[in-house]
Symmetry: C2
Subunit: 174 residues, 2 copies
DNA sequence: TTTTGTGCAAACTTTTTGCAGATTG
DNA sequence: CAATCTGCAAAAAGTTTGCACAAAA
């Protein structure tokens, strides 16, 4: 989309160090999980790191240049990345998935998504009530929200084989 | 599903007053919105009021006896009910929608959904962090969560025709 | 009687699966 | 070389739409 930065500064086009380390950390994570660091995976991670807001799979695939890898691969990679805690999934109002890179350093934030244009903006999190009050002040109308927690219940831990995932995925709340 | 209560107490089979008033309030709401109070709508509302936990559309349709109304009607009714604020939608970990009756009297609560069996339990809401800590103590593992706010952004309010909905849907945060 | 809702069939969108060939470590 | 990924094709889920008939006000 955005053509490479138009300056001819020596660092033009070279991603900031933080992006590199994010990517590297992610690759380490992949190897830890005995997963391979492939070209599609790298491009997907790069694209996610570049972005600041959550993005749909379709759109991500498009950003990737379409030809660089198959849509199915994007689905598979994101599912894997989510299991590893490398990305976070959220939802649009219609239930379609959105993904964003889970920056290890940054504290977790949340989003407002416009029900009409679908654009999302990050927002600081205080409390549900404070949040909606603040969004009203920002000019949003017809506010609603969902808060959902997922986990594996005690019963299923006993019965299901439960593919044990890498380190705690739940570490996001640490 | 559950055959009429097996006792022969005079009140057997008669729903508690609260259910009735919930249903009545909902019907008033429908009429306010110039919507008709039809048999399918009543059964859907009844089924939702009976339930305590969020339910998928498929499952709701099943609870309804399948034959009592078409699956498409369930979709349409729930979408309409959501617009009116009569029900709340949430999501399973895979993105499929879940609905629950928005009891006007009760304060809003949230859920934990098991990633394996999908069962949901209501939980008191404190804060995201406290929530996950508490769920860990309850024996849940591999916790994750989503918090998403939806609304109509200032820009779209100017451009889009924006079918003006009934009283504030957003009143849930009042 | 007019307006609104429903059922049915079919389309669509999003996501998942199977498998052979390509790629990584 | 062995294990793991990817692409392609096809299927499965979940959800939406169009239209004629049915039901509610």
């Amino acid at each position: 989309m955005i053509a490479a930065t138009q300056s001819n500064h020596p660092l033009a086009g070279i991603p900031p160090k933080s992006e590199v380390s994010n990517l590297e950390a992610a690759c380490v994570r992949l190897r830890q999980a005995q997963m391979r660091v492939t070209k599609p995976r790298i491009s997907i991670l790069e694209a996610l790191i570049r972005r600041e807001t959550p993005i749909s799979i379709e759109q991500l695939h498009h950003d990737l240049n379409e030809s660089s890898c198959d849509l199915v691969t994007v689905y598979r990679c994101l599912a894997a990345f989510e299991e590893l805690g490398l990305v976070r999934r959220s939802f649009q109002h219609n239930g379609t998935g959105l993904y964003e890179f889970a920056h290890a350093s940054r504290s977790r934030h949340y989003h407002v998504l416009c029900k009409v244009c679908g654009k999302s903006e990050p927002v600081e999190y205080f409390s549900v009530e404070g949040m909606e009050r603040m969004l009203t002040e920002r000019g949003f109308t017809q506010l609603s929200h969902i808060v959902e927690f997922f986990g594996i219940c005690p019963t299923c831990q006993l019965t299901a084989p439960a593919r044990q995932n890498s380190p705690t995925i739940s570490s996001e709340s640490a």
